[in-house]
């Protein structure tokens, strides 16, 4: 790993320094901020002026200075100072890592010395308290491997702690689960094997062949039962030991859980059986001395099986996050010292030039500096079509380069990349709580002890009023009650659905902040859409060219574009882009003069050109010949018309407008189809706003709203008693997003960690709002199904276990059936949550979907 090219020509792999002329050292120093040839010379001169430097050359393209110096006379810090003094930066990398074995203050100095002795390391500080080293180094000279090797050479060990979201960590988690599953399954098989034998031999009189061999109260049967007692003890110790230790540890914390109930139930059955076996004389009648070892063994085995199935299903629940983590690229090919080297993705630094070939994964976030390509971003944004990327545009790490090769400058690496942010947000959201969970939390503290109390009450009632043999009935009822109660199903009901729902959102390019946002999103009544950037692209484009007075459209646009090239007005850029988009070469203008609030004038190709609004034309006494009527028409369509006059005569109109996103209309129709009121909010004038509203099929428009008043308008709608969502960009609309019950931030590209929003849509489309609300509705439906199912299960199961059906129908539940029901109920909850994963977005026309 690391800078292989450097290491190859170096005498030592750890120094990372090339062998230069005898005694002299040569380093490549990164220099940032180089823009022109003059800068190159300035930096070169500055470096050469440092005493001890024998040669310095700066490469403008690479942004790097190659310096040869005598290490006895000068060092890297002095060289960096020189670059800085010349007005440029020499960027460094910083790394923090944990070191094992720091026991004394002298270790600290020793390690710091070793680090500082490594060429390329500028600063190093080791803290004894945190056992952490903080190292600043020049990435062109040393790499992280060399830095860590220096720690090793001092006799200490660098603790490898891969980032928490690394694929390795996910693998380890999966491995741990697999091991747990294997262990539970072994416990189940052992329990099942002993259980089959125990079940048969507990009731030999039910089996014709055994009936004669093992009659009741025979010595032979006693020996078999004694054997079963030992066998079931083995099951308790091996298959059931986690219930008993779990129960004991719970008790030490004065808390009771599922383990407590299972341990109590199976333990009571075992103790009763053993007493009946060893001291039959204390029981008044022989029918009371039957053993119930089968209850102990079979219940333990079945609950183990249930736990194993639960674990399997749970593993599938968190698949979404695994998929996200698996997206990360492992290596990157970067340009360092003019060479392409492969390094691990953790070592890519901000500012590195990364080379990506067709079919390769883009390793980190950045902006293209050379080349172009189509990029498949579906894994991050959910957008299925490849996106064309050209120089200057953003690329997102973990997306797939399809067609062309390109180079890009890394802008975000490590834990700052879009994907790392997404993973962190999804993790946090999955760990949050849905507000309805509060009910469960309130109940769960009382649940398990209450079940134990119910079991005791059941025992007392049956013993006091039950039919003979009362103690047997009482025992069965108490044990069944303990076993059928399932706090797990209740406890898992909401977290499982939440995990699946949040994961589902992430895979569709929707980041949900937490359970609360999810629960509120399904209750929404009103959606406020910001116009600019949400319904529309947020960037004006050239829409109409109207030529008059003998000019043709091409000439008009060519000249207007030529003039606007010199302007910095945002509308000017739209005209220039539009003209270039039609393949026109734009001539240069002279005598450019901008008149604020009016327009511009300039000379181009020997003609005098005026470009501006109606007022400008009137001021310059240009006859409009009906062009003003046409302009009004365009303005009614939500466009901004600009008049052009050439040599004092009207030449036509160019109009620009912020255009509506392709799928906005469809998304708005879908939202209204879901019974939501949709409102548009904008700072634009009434006429433009109405025009856009007409295009997308909206009736309610809040126009001419100042940016700072947006939050107030959200509040006004909330005062109408409605649950209001605000959709807008996360920066300008932040107060409104925060005021809304649910704030949707439309994110674009790599800027996904938007603080003010409850839900972030990675793909900048309104379709995401539709999907997010659908997902929240589906998830909350799932949550309620689980909660109600788990409540009903316990509400019905407990009385039946207590024997309320016995007086009427003579039905008494067996503890074995209770164990099956209990395991089944918690597996059902997880399976129901997993069912959510098969959710498919409904189409706008209200098509199919579960």
């Amino acid at each position: 790993m690391g800078s292989t090219e450097i290491a190859r020509s170096a005498p030592s792999a750890t120094t990372g320094v090339r062998a230069g002329t005898s005694g002299a050292r040569r380093v490549g120093l990164p220099v940032a901020g180089l823009t022109c040839h003059n800068c190159v010379q300035a930096v070169e001169r500055a470096l050469q002026a440092v005493p001890g430097v024998t040669a310095a050359t700066v490469n403008l393209v690479e942004g790097r200075a190659v310096v040869e110096y005598d290490p006895d006379q000068t060092g890297l810090p002095a060289l960096r100072e020189a670059v800085k003094a010349a007005g440029y930066r020499s960027d460094t990398a910083r790394a923090r890592f944990t070191i094992r074995g720091i026991t004394c203050a002298s270790c600290v100095t020793k390690i710091e010395k070793a680090l500082l002795g490594t060429p390329g390391v500028l600063k190093a500080s080791v803290s004894m308290g945190t056992e952490e080293a903080d190292v600043e180094y020049l990435p062109s000279v040393a790499d992280l491997g060399a830095v860590k090797a220096a720690v090793g050479s001092a006799g200490y060990e660098v603790a490898e702690s891969p980032p928490p979201a690394s694929p390795e960590a996910a693998d380890r988690e999966a491995e741990a689960r697999e091991a747990e599953y294997g262990s539970l399954m072994r416990k189940w098989w052992f329990g099942a094997a002993v259980g089959t034998f125990t079940m048969i031999m507990s009731y030999p009189w039910l089996f014709p062949g055994l009936r004669d061999w093992f009659p009741r109260e025979s010595q032979r049967l006693w020996y078999v039962w004694a054997g079963m007692g030992v066998g079931s003890l083995a099951v308790i110790l091996y298959s059931g030991n986690h219930f008993f230790t779990g129960a004991w540890q719970g008790l030490r914390h004065r808390s009771a859980n599922m383990h407590t109930l299972i341990a109590l139930g199976t333990g009571v059955a075992w103790i009763y059986s053993t007493i009946a076996l060893l001291f039959p004389q204390i029981f008044p009648s022989s029918e009371l001395t039957d053993v119930y070892y089968d209850v102990t063994v079979v219940v333990i085995a079945l609950v183990d099986l249930g736990l194993a199935m639960e674990l399997r299903a749970k593993g599938r629940t968190s698949e979404a996050i695994k998929k996200l983590i698996g997206l990360q690229a492992k290596t990157a090919r970067v340009l360092r010292d003019g060479n392409e080297i492969d390094i691990s993705v953790e070592e890519v630094l901000v500012g590195d030039i990364v080379v990506v070939r067709p079919g390769e994964k883009i390793p980190v976030d950045g902006a293209i500096v050379e080349g172009s390509s189509a990029v498949d971003e579906s894994m991050v944004t959910g957008e299925s079509l490849p996106v064309e990327k050209k120089v200057g545009e953003e690329v997102i790490g973990a997306t797939l380069n399809k067609t062309g090769a390109f180079k890009f400058r890394a802008t975000k690496v490590g834990k700052d990349t879009a994907l790392a942010n997404i993973i962190r947000m999804v993790r946090d959201a999955q760990g949050s709580k849905v507000p309805v969970q509060r009910i469960v939390d309130a109940v769960s503290g009382y649940f398990t002890p209450s079940v134990a109390i119910l079991a005791i009450l059941g025992f007392m009632t049956w013993y006091t009023f039950g039919p003979p043999p009362a103690v047997v009935f009482a025992l069965i009822v108490a044990v069944t009650t303990l076993i059928i109660a399932c706090p797990c199903a209740l406890g898992m009901a909401t977290p499982m659905s939440l995990t699946t729902g949040v994961g589902l959102g992430a895979l569709n390019g929707i980041l949900i902040r937490g359970g609360e946002s999810l629960q509120t999103a399904q209750k929404l009544q009103t959606i406020i859409l910001d116009k600019t950037g949400t319904i529309t692209h947020g960037k004006p484009v050239l829409t109409d060219v109207v030529a008059s007075g003998g000019f043709d459209e091409t000439t008009l646009l060519r000249l207007a574009g030529g003039v606007e090239k010199s302007s910095e007005h945002p509308l000017a850029a739209a005209i220039v882009e539009g003209a270039k988009g039609r393949g026109l070469t734009l001539p240069d203008a002279a005598g450019f003069n901008a008149i604020p609030g009016h327009g511009i004038e300039a000379r181009i190709e020997g003609r005098a050109l005026l470009l501006g609004n109606l007022k400008f034309m009137r001021d310059r006494k240009i006859p409009l010949d009906g062009l003003d009527a046409r302009a009004l028409e365009l303005a009614d369509g939500g466009k901004t018309p600009m008049f052009v006059a050439i040599d004092g005569k009207p030449a036509g109109i160019v109009a620009v407008a912020d255009t509506v996103k392709e799928d906005s209309k469809e998304a708005i129709r879908a939202l209204r189809g879901m019974g939501l009121e949709v409102v548009m909010i904008t700072g634009d004038n009434e006429r433009t706003a109405k025009a856009i509203a007409r295009q997308v099929g909206l009736e309610r428009v809040l126009a001419e709203v100042l940016p700072q008043d947006k939050a107030f308008n959200v509040q006004k709608l909330q005062l109408e008693g409605k649950q209001v969502a605000m959709v807008g960009d996360g920066i300008n609309d932040a107060p409104a997003l925060a005021q809304a019950d649910v704030g949707f931030a439309i994110g674009t590209g790599t800027d996904v960690a938007i603080a003010a929003s409850d839900i972030t849509l990675i793909k900048g489309s309104l379709r995401g709002v539709v999907l997010a609300i659908q997902i929240s509705r589906a998830t909350m439906r799932n949550v309620y199904q689980n909660l109600i199912g788990a409540f009903i299960y316990n509400v019905l199961g407990l009385p039946i276990a207590l024997g309320v059906l016995y007086p009427f129908f003579g039905i008494l539940l067996s503890p074995l059936l209770a164990a099956v029901a209990m395991s089944f109920s918690s597996v059902t909850v997880i399976m129901n949550a997993n069912r959510l994963k098969r959710w498919k977005p409904r189409t706008a026309s209200g098509g199919t979907g579960p």
Partner: protein, 125 residues
């Protein structure tokens, strides 16, 4: 009612009384988190069948770092949540996972596993 039934019922009621007292009436004493040189109030929390200690007393206004160590494989305790501080962390077995937060207001704040079976409390004074 025969004497054996009376005995069973008296013992049963006694047990119920014990359960109520044991789980609901006894208030656990808290452990005061130690202030370290880093300026954090630190406390190690063992995750094994519950949280040890499960009541942690801290002072308001000073950042708190709880170092959770999970020493069991049961998947129930995989995560720890502090809903009041919007914090959650997954706890790999055997690893020390720090959770940091800044308690501003005095009060009692719960922390729990995802299913709410394991519970603990941070008392901010």
């Amino acid at each position: 009612m025969t004497w054996d039934k009376i005995v069973v019922d008296v013992v049963g009621l006694g047990l119920i009384g014990f359960i109520v007292w044991f789980f609901w009436l006894v208030k656990a004493k808290g452990v005061k988190a130690a202030l370290t040189s880093g300026g954090y109030q630190e406390q190690m929390v063992l995750v094994k069948g519950g949280y040890t200690p499960d009541v942690i007393v801290v002072e308001a206004g000073t950042p708190v770092r709880l170092n959770f160590v999970r020493q069991e494989s049961a998947s129930c305790s995989e995560m720890v949540l502090l809903p009041a501080f919007d914090k959650s962390a997954s706890l790999p077995e055997g690893k020390t996972v720090p959770v940091e937060f800044l308690p501003k207001e005095p009060g009692e704040y719960e922390f729990a596993c995802q299913m709410g079976m394991f519970r603990g409390k941070v008392i901010v004074e």
